[in-house]
Amino acid sequence: IEEALIFETGHMAATGVDLPEPKGTRSRLGGLERKGTMNLPGLAEPEAMRHFVRLSQKNYAIDMGPFPLGSCTMKHNPRLNEKMARLPGFAEIHPLQPVSTVQGALELIDTLAGWLKELTGMPAVAMSPKAGAHGELCGMVTIKAALEARGEAETRTRVLAPESAHGTNPATAAQCGFTVDAIPADDTGRVDIEAFKAKLGDDVAAIMVTNPNTCGLFERDIREMADAVHEAGGYFYCDGANFNAIVGKVKPGDLGIDAMHINLHKTFSTPHGGGGPGSGPTVLSEALAPFAPIPYVVSDADGFHLIEKRSQEEGDHHSFGRMTAFHGQMGMFVRALTYMLSHGGDGLRQAAEDAVLNANYVLARLSAEMTPAFEGTCMHEALFNDDFLKDTGVGTLDFAKAMIDEGYHPMTMYFPLVVHGAMLIEPTETESRHELDLFCDALLSLAKEAKAGKADKFKAAPVLSPRRRLDETAAARKPVLRWEPSNDESMAAE
């Protein structure tokens, strides 16, 4: 069943909201009243409900089945978190209310910050970044501020990052005015430590390393890297996207890092929501803490206070400024803390262990038909290359799209870039063994079919989804980014 756009079925007079009648007060808008139509039709409530419910039914979601997306950590989102986030005492408070009327909100931020610091072994955390990439920006801007304070901002302009890094790493570094220098990987899928050391120098501002890395492996030389970069006068930024694999098992602070963002939606179960909102608090070392963004929460015997000035009289804190208008993603903080309290320290550690166990189980089972990218065990995600598809006429993309017809969301494809035709599978700890077995059975069977020469089926896939493969090239060639009355006509004319 096709679902029209609201602009195609709505009426200009329709509204799904009943409002009291205005009193007819004289307007004081300075002569800038809006005239003419906005071309925004409305729908009555029953129509709107049905429109969005029907739309929703065209989506795949974690509540429907596994989302084996490497690097994305699609885990179960507890509804208790949603319920807590909707308590009026959290949802209906304003960021600029008097501090005396939001003591519970500040307590929550402070408590969450405390958990994050304990779990990472770091002394400070900037809570306001709005998402992972924003947390990276926060970390790199903090590093830049620290370099400025040292008078080295002009000279330290190079950032080292592994070839396998997430795209956000180079993008963030570039946004801060750094040049990015790629570190090659060794043949075990980790940073080539000698190549890395060779690149160090007094123009290096920082290294940016993901750990566990994007090949799903723990950087076993991480302390050596930290020592080396510190010795060279640079900072160690760690991309925390894969923190889910080690939370409670290792404290990044024990490994020598200076800054790391934490994706609350990956490790602490706040919902992805179809692409946001995220939340990316960034933990900071003693060296970087003085430059953290405002606002932040402090407490004393009188209660909780907000620091909203860049420079405080007492102490040497000199913030670089604001990451965002207010206090960060409070709604996500509530969800994440609810999740942490539910799991506790013991549960978080168990979750990391189960995430790693699940990934290794999948790695072991799938190795029967698919080719692991590296030898040995993995952390929380299993990486395969496309060797097993060689000469089958089936590509990584085709293989992934065929999974849709089996009822699964595809895994991450073609990432990390260092592996040919990469397929990165992260089951997470919230999949049961039963569900993993069904998933592995389906993939093994697909792999056999590919090898048996059924390339046509793969090329045609998916066929059971609400849409078949979409023409992304056409979309980009002549972008249509909004509905206009003429769209319909031109579509009809074609």
């Binding site: 200009m12 004081r28 300075g30 906005m38 009026p88 959290f90 990439a133 946004q175 189960d354």
Partner: protein, 446 residues
């Protein structure tokens, strides 16, 4: 533990398949002395224990709905229909992923397309993106975009731009050689921003209604900016105002950014919110953030995909237009649903009710001895000049359970000339009795 499906037997059997004797064999690459550190954290807890703990914290906050409430300055208390919150909690929206696999994400993609259309129409622009973190970060991204488009470094901001927006834009837009300057603007609407536009100016950033509540005519500023080859970035922190006021697009803005929280989203102590970002067709490929576009599938049916992703970090890496990889999907959905329920008819009426509530509040308060209304033209927010430090007044009123607005010292801690200012917002939820209570209490504390 309720979120973990594996039991002891599963774990043992799976370790066998993996070929490991104990789970820590899988963590062999971790330095041994760093593995399994002590955690000074409580153990797991059941739902009702957690609920009690969270509810205790929530109970220490004064919710907006619990009494008279006039706080605004970038976030507004509006009514959100129950339908909105119901729909965004549907599993298929709440627990879905970024729609990189469009075949099984048409639900998300279609509402993003609808969102983009609504935002473009509301702002009077040609195209909009699929949302950004919030209004302030959208503002900073607009400055970066203007620098890319104009290849200039000057970021000129009006002094009546929300100071937090100014701070974020200065920080982010000012990286890599950006030069931020701010005009002198007074609470009553006077502003020398036009005089400061130069050949180095990449963009002029002006908010309307501005942080003091003044409705700003952008046309002369647009003209002045364009004359110097600069772009005009219009900032809207109260999206409902777009239902009453001439759109920034009509007045000549090149980029419109805004905070969409007012439509469909709760106050949430400042986040998550939803940043609006719209621009002219000709600047489309310079836009940051995700874009959803129309296309067809292999069977020729209309469908939607994320498009122009070659601008984005996961493809372009250090050459990307922005490092952003998240939008504010669920908040954008809430915006779209609420906007769909309102329709143009409802939005206009809602805007009128907001304006009327503000007029009534302004009249009641400015009638008090010593209280001066500084604005001529305003939408749902205005500024009062009080005979003493507004922060003290706000605290005194909070003690009477009236949340009176935002005192100048909260926004401009370093600028004492503004500390007697009180920014007051009213919305459709403001009741006559709230206004009366506010006015009576204000008389008492002055």
């Amino acid at each position: 533990m309720r979120y973990l499906p594996l039991d002891t037997e599963d774990r043992r059997a799976m370790l066998d398949v993996v070929g490991a004797k104990a789970i820590d064999e899988l963590f062999a690459d971790v330095p041994a002395d760093a593995l399994n550190p002590p955690l000074d954290l409580p153990d797991h807890a059941g739902e009702f224990a957690v609920e009690r703990q969270m509810a205790a914290m929530a109970g220490k906050n004064r919710a907006a709905g619990a009494g008279p409430f006039f706080v605004g300055a970038g976030a507004y208390r509006h009514h959100v229909p129950a339908t909105v919150d119901h729909i965004i909690q549907r599993s298929e929206f709440l627990t879905s992923y970024t729609p990189y696999q469009p075949e099984i994400a048409q639900g998300t993609l279609q509402y993003l397309f609808e969102f983009q259309t609504q935002v473009a129409s509301l702002t009077g622009m040609d195209v909009a993106n699929a949302s950004m973190y919030d209004g302030s970060t959208a503002c900073a991204e607009a400055a970066l975009m203007a620098r890319r488009v104009t290849r200039r470094d000057g970021i000129l901001m009006s002094g009546s731009l929300h100071p937090h927006y100014e701070s974020v834009t200065r920080m982010n837009g000012g990286l890599v050689g950006g030069k931020a300057t701010v005009s002198e603007a007074s609470p009553d609407g006077a502003d020398n921003v036009i005089d400061l536009i130069s050949d180095e100016t990449a963009c002029v950033i002006v908010q309307t209604p501005d942080v003091f509540g003044n409705v700003v005519d952008l046309e002369p500023i647009a003209k002045a900016a364009h004359d110097k080859g600069a772009l005009l970035v219009a900032v809207v922190t109260e999206a409902v105002s777009l239902g009453a006021l001439k759109s920034p697009g009509e007045m000549g803005a090149d980029i419109v950014v805004g905070e969409g929280q007012s439509i469909g989203n709760a106050l949430n102590f400042g986040g998550p919110y939803v940043g609006l970002f719209a621009t002219r067709q000709k600047f489309m490929r310079n836009m940051p953030g995700r874009l959803c576009g129309e296309t067809v599938d292999a069977g020729g049916k209309r469908g939607f995909v994320l498009t122009l992703s070659t601008r984005e970090q996961h493809i372009r890496r250090d050459k990307a237009t922005s490092n952003i990889c998240t939008n504010s999907g669920l908040c954008a959905l809430a915006f779209t649903i609420h906007m769909t329920l309102l329709g143009e008819t409802g939005l206009r009426k809602l805007a009128t009710l907001n304006h009327e509530a503000a007029c009534a509040t302004a009249d009641a308060l400015s009638a008090i001895d010593g209280v001066e209304l500084v604005n001529d033209a305003f939408f749902n927010e205005f500024t009062l000049r009080l005979p003493k430090d507004a922060a003290e007044v706000v605290e005194a009123l909070a003690a009477k359970d009236i949340l009176a607005g935002v005192p100048g010292s909260r926004l401009w801690p370093e600028d004492e000339s503004k500390h007697n200012l009180l920014i007051v917002a009213a919305t459709e939820l403001t009741q006559d009795k709230d206004i009366e209570a506010f006015a009576n209490a204000l008389k008492e504390v002055l």
